[in-house]
Each structure stands twice: as structure tokens, then as C-alpha cells.
């Protein structure tokens, strides 16, 4: 009932409408698009190196004869999966740590917030950059874990401060005075009541993770060859962007569109979930 209302409010907002539409189209392109392409992403066309877009290679070819259309969509699939997984893990972690620290207070709070501070202080880019190339051969899921571990702290601080005020709210006091154990109150009363923040945050974390992955891959610290992501493709393309713009334009353009549409959806969600804000 509430979710229906939120959806209705969201669809009334033109920004969010376009965002959702664009996101849906991009997802279709990433997952259905490759089926219609004439080439597989692993195929190498030794007759066409660095060819501009043509009837056979819709978006041109790369230095080693790969079809840019196929490779870019493959990279986009990876970027999307990484984005969603990182957002899921990091928002979940943020909710758990923040709500627990805020609700329990005392020593648990101090310890958890100290860990949060430590992770904030650690140079995340540097650490991921050192570790991730050494996971060669390991699953790219490790990379997801690394990204997630370094992206939940700010949200968890927000969750904590919201929990601190929720803790004094009367319906939580009522539950406590009823003798309901702390973990149950956290799961039944605290987390559902900060769900707006969590949903919005998860959405924005998707785009942050997509950019984060691309940024690390740009220097070769992220997804390792032969696997591709939008980041590795942009890195390869940007060096040759002046002479061979299709190598750069397609992955970069799709990345921007992807991030833009996710951000629009996130902003629309914020307005729909929190009617007090601005709209």
C-alpha cells in the first residue's frame, strides 16, 4: 500500500520518470543487446583493426579487432552487476552497523564507530589499488567486496544519528518498556523507519560504485583482463580518443547515461519517500 503510493508519487515526477525509462532501456541494451549483435565479445576480427563504425561492426573495432558494440555491452553488464552488488552489500552493512551502534550505545557504539572512523581514515583508493590486481585469477566478486567494504561508512554514520533520535521516540520506548529484546527492536522498529534513507542511499550507491569501479579500472587497478568493464574500456579508449573517438565515446557515453539515470531515479525516490523535502 505504501510502496504503491511511493511509486505513484515517483511517476508523477518527470525526472524520475525519464530516469526509470532510461534505466530500463539501458538494462535491456546491456542484456538483450548482445543477442542481436553480429559478433561475440570474445571474437577477434583479424581483418578489421581500429575500424570506424560500419554495417558489420556497428560501433567499430578495437586495436585487436574486437567488436566495440559487443565488448562495450559486455563491459556494461559487468559494471551494472558490480554497481548493484556493491550498493546492496554496503547499504546493508551501513544499516546494520549504524543501527546497532546507535541503538545499543555505550561500548558497542564506541567500538563500531572507531572501526568506521578507521575505515574512513584509510586511503581506500590506495588499498583497493594495491590489493585488487593481486587477486588475479580470483573471482571479481572479491573486487565487489573490496568496494563495498570502503563505501558504507558515511551512510552508517547517518543511520546512527537517525537511530539515536529514533531511540528516544515514543514507539521505540514503548517497545523497550514492553520488554522486547534489543535485536528485535532494531529489526522491527528501527531499520524499517529509516528505510527511506536506506533506499535512497542504496540507489545513489549504485552510481557511486559504478563510477568507483570505472575509476579504479581506469588505472588498471580494477577488473583485470581479459575481462572487461566500462572502466577498462574507457581507459583504453581515452588514450586514443583523439584519432579513434568511437573507442572512447561509446563506453564513456553509456557510463554517463547509466549514472545519470540511476541518479535521477534516486532523486525521484527521495522526493517520493520524503514528501517533506522540496517537492
Amino acid at each position: 500500500m505504501r510502496s504503491k503510493l511511493v511509486l505513484k508519487r515517483m511517476l508523477r515526477n518527470p525526472q524520475a520518470r525519464y530516469g526509470l525509462l532510461a534505466l530500463a532501456l539501458l538494462l535491456l541494451l546491456a542484456y538483450i543487446g548482445p543477442l542481436f549483435g553480429p559478433h561475440d565479445w570474445t571474437e577477434k576480427d583479424f581483418l578489421a583493426f581500429m575500424e570506424p563504425p560500419s554495417g558489420d561492426h556497428w560501433w567499430g573495432t578495437t586495436q585487436i579487432g574486437q567488436d566495440v558494440y559487443a565488448v562495450t555491452l559486455r563491459g556494461m553488464q559487468k559494471s551494472i552487476i558490480i554497481g548493484f552488488l556493491v550498493a546492496l552489500v554496503s547499504t546493508g552493512l551501513a544499516a546494520l552497523v549504524g543501527a546497532t551502534a546507535g541503538y545499543l550505545g555505550g561500548w558497542a557504539d564506541r567500538a563500531l564507530m572507531w572501526v568506521t572512523d578507521l575505515l574512513l581514515v584509510l586511503p581506500s583508493f590506495l588499498i583497493i589499488a594495491i590489493i585488487s590486481p593481486r587477486l588475479k585469477g580470483g573471482s571479481w566478486l572479491w573486487f565487489v567486496v573490496l568496494l563495498a567494504v570502503f563505501s558504507w561508512m558515511i551512510t552508517s554514520r547517518m543511520v546512527r544519528s537517525m537511530t539515536l533520535s529514533l531511540r528516544e521516540r515514543e514507539f521505540v520506548l514503548a517497545a523497550r518498556y514492553m520488554g522486547i529484546p534489543a535485536w528485535k527492536i532494531i529489526l522491527r522498529h528501527v531499520v524499517p523507519n529509516i528505510s527511506s534513507l536506506l533506499i535512497i542511499d542504496a540507489t545513489l550507491n549504485v552510481s557511486a560504485a559504478i563510477i568507483g569501479e570505472a575509476a579504479l579500472s581506469f588505472f588498471g587497478f580494477g577488473i583485470q583482463p581479459p575481462d572487461v568493464s566500462l572502466g577498462t574500456l574507457i581507459a583504453d579508449g581515452s588514450a586514443k580518443a583523439i584519432g579513434y573517438p568511437w573507442l572512447f565515446a561509446f563506453p564513456a557515453g553509456l557510463l554517463v547515461l547509466l549514472v545519470l539515470s540511476v541518479n535521477l531515479v534516486g532523486d525521484g525516490l527521495r522526493d517520493a519517500l520524503d514528501p517533506g523535502s522540496n517537492q
Binding site: V121, F219, I234
Partner: protein
């Protein structure tokens, strides 16, 4: 107050120490400075390499804990050790912080000032065409990652220079070392244009969004109604009461972001060829330079904590509700 300050200092020093130590262990165990000496022509004898690495405290044959102790005792006396090719890290750090500061100072100031103005303007014009255009613009810019933006800027500059037949806009390095005097100053300024745009555009977009939201929050509050009830026009109420009050959260964010930016301009520095802290972050890893990696980590950790402290100070300076009386 003294006790509180002391406790905060202790806990911060502890955090920095742990963060830097973790970074050191990680770098010392997974990076391989020896690799820089191997495969040279003519080949260098292993004993010589060992001796050189030993001298720089980089020898992977020494137990890592022992290297760590050496490093820590150096750091404790203010010596961050040697780079992989034997230069003092301290000097390199000083030079690079200078480069980053020269680049970031203008960029962050422009970003915040323009962003706040644009955001305040959008809030006042809420739902009008100009507000919507600013909103869409901000969203598009925020969706463009810096490395794409910077690349696009270099492409545009190259195209422009080609079309004009001379180099109107420079996009590599900090200045042209061949020039001196006033020419060097203008060269420096020219070299600043594109990186500054690359740095500040995203910030303008971001600040304009938060400033707009903060301002709209404030606009709905009772004291704006009071200001108008005593006879202030809408405009005066907005500028005298809403803008000033909504600056409080934005200023804290500004302080915080400036601190973290010092090591965060990785892409702008790399793409435009500035040898600042951000570039060093990447270069030190790529050149397996353990002590530099540790130095960057230490510096970044100090920056984050200092930025937090700075933003607290700013809040208490501009928000009388928390001012210490």
C-alpha cells in the same frame, strides 16, 4: 576542555598510526621494489641490489616486521624514508603537496563559490525554467566521472588548438619551464585553466544541489515568515536570513572536502600531467615504491582527520548555537 582536546588528539593519533601501519604492511608485503632493478641492461648484481634496497629499507629479504620498526623509528623523528631510487620521501612530499595546493586552492574556491551562488539562485527561482535548467545541468555534470570530463576537455582543447593553428590552451604540466618572469606567470595561469574547470565543474554541480536543498529547507521555516511579517521583502528575507543560515551546513562540507581533496585529485592531476599528491598515489603503486605509498597513506589519514577538525571549527565559528562561549 583541555582533557577533551587531549583525548581527541590521542584518539586521532592512534587512528593515523593504525591506518598508516596497515598501509605500510600492505605495501611492504605486496609491492616489489626489487622488480625496478631486475632486468636492467647491464644487469645489476643481486648483492648490489640487496645493498641498495637495504640502504633504502626496501629489501624484501629483511623480515617485514624489522623493516616496519626501522620505518616507524624514522617516522617518529620526522623522516619518512627513501623512495625506491633513493630520494628522500620528505622532499618529494613537500614538493607534491605544493603542486596539489596550487592546483586545488583555486579549483575548490571557485567550485564552492560558484556552486553556492548557483544553488541559491535556483532555490529562489524554484520551479521556474532557470531552476529546472540548473537542475538538469547539475545532474548531467554529476553523472560525468572526472576521468571522462578531463579527457573530453583535453580533446576539446586539442581540437581548438588545431583549429587555431597555435596552442591557445595548455593541457599538460604546470608551466612551461622554458619561460621566465611574467611569461612564466601567464603560462602557469594558462596551464591552470583546464584542470581548474575539470576540478570545479563537478563541485559546482554538487554544491549547487546541496545549497538549493538547504536553502529550500530554510525557506519553509518559521523565521523566514517572521522576517517577512516585520516588513522585509521576500528578497531581503531570502538574502539576509535564509542564505546566511543555510550556509552553515555547506561550509562544514566545504572544509571537509578541501581536506580530503588534497589526495583526491587523482584523475585531474594524472590526465593534465601535474605531479601532485593525487598523481603520486597512483605512481607510487605503479613504481612499487613502498615508502612513498606509506607516506601518502599517512598524509591522507592526517588530512581526513584534520578536515574533520576544521569543519567542526568552522561550524562553531559561524553557528552561534554551538559556539563556545
Amino acid at each position: 576542555m583541555g582533557v577533551y582536546l587531549f583525548r581527541r588528539l590521542i584518539s586521532n593519533v592512534l587512528l593515523v598510526a593504525i591506518a598508516a601501519s596497515m598501509a605500510y604492511f600492505l605495501a611492504a608485503t605486496s609491492l616489489n621494489p626489487r622488480f625496478k632493478y631486475e632486468g636492467r641492461q647491464p644487469p645489476v648484481a643481486e648483492a648490489v641490489v640487496d645493498a641498495t634496497l637495504e640502504q633504502y629499507n626496501l629489501n624484501d629479504k629483511t623480515p617485514v616486521f624489522q623493516r616496519y620498526v626501522t620505518w616507524v623509528s624514522g617516522v617518529a623523528t620526522g623522516d619518512l624514508g627513501r623512495t625506491w631510487d633513493g630520494k628522500p620521501v620528505n622532499a618529494e612530499l613537500g614538493r607534491r603537496v605544493g603542486v596539489s595546493l596550487r592546483l586545488l586552492f583555486i579549483g575548490t574556491l571557485v567550485g564552492a563559490a560558484v556552486g553556492v551562488s548557483v544553488g541559491a539562485y535556483a532555490a529562489v527561482k524554484q520551479y521556474r525554467i532557470s531552476d529546472r535548467l540548473i537542475g538538469v545541468g547539475a545532474f548531467v555534470i554529476m553523472a560525468i566521472p572526472v576521468f571522462v570530463l578531463a579527457t573530453l576537455l583535453t580533446i576539446a582543447a586539442a581540437g581548438l588548438n588545431d583549429a587555431l593553428g597555435f596552442s591557445l590552451l595548455e593541457y599538460t604540466g604546470e608551466y612551461n619551464p622554458a619561460l621566465s618572469g611574467w611569461d612564466q606567470v601567464t603560462s602557469r595561469l594558462n596551464h591552470l585553466i583546464l584542470p581548474t574547470i575539470s576540478l570545479s565543474l563537478g563541485q559546482i554541480a554538487y554544491y549547487s544541489r546541496i545549497q538549493r536543498n538547504m536553502m529550500l529547507d530554510v525557506l519553509g521555516q518559521d523565521f523566514i515568515r517572521t522576517a517577512r511579517a516585520k516588513g522585509l521583502s521576500r528578497r531581503d528575507a531570502l538574502f539576509k536570513h535564509a542564505l546566511r543560515t543555510s550556509l552553515v551546513p555547506v561550509a562544514t562540507y566545504f572544509a571537509f572536502s578541501f581536506g580530503t581533496m588534497l589526495t583526491g585529485a587523482v584523475f585531474t592531476e594524472k590526465i593534465f600531467g601535474w605531479h601532485g599528491m593525487g598523481a603520486w598515489l597512483v605512481e607510487s603503486i605503479q613504481s612499487h615504491d613502498v615508502n612513498s605509498v606509506a607516506a601518502v597513506s599517512l598524509f591522507a589519514a592526517v588530512c581526513v582527520l584534520f578536515a574533520g577538525f576544521l569543519s567542526d571549527l568552522i561550524v562553531s565559528a559561524i553557528d552561534p548555537r554551538v559556539r563556545v562561549s
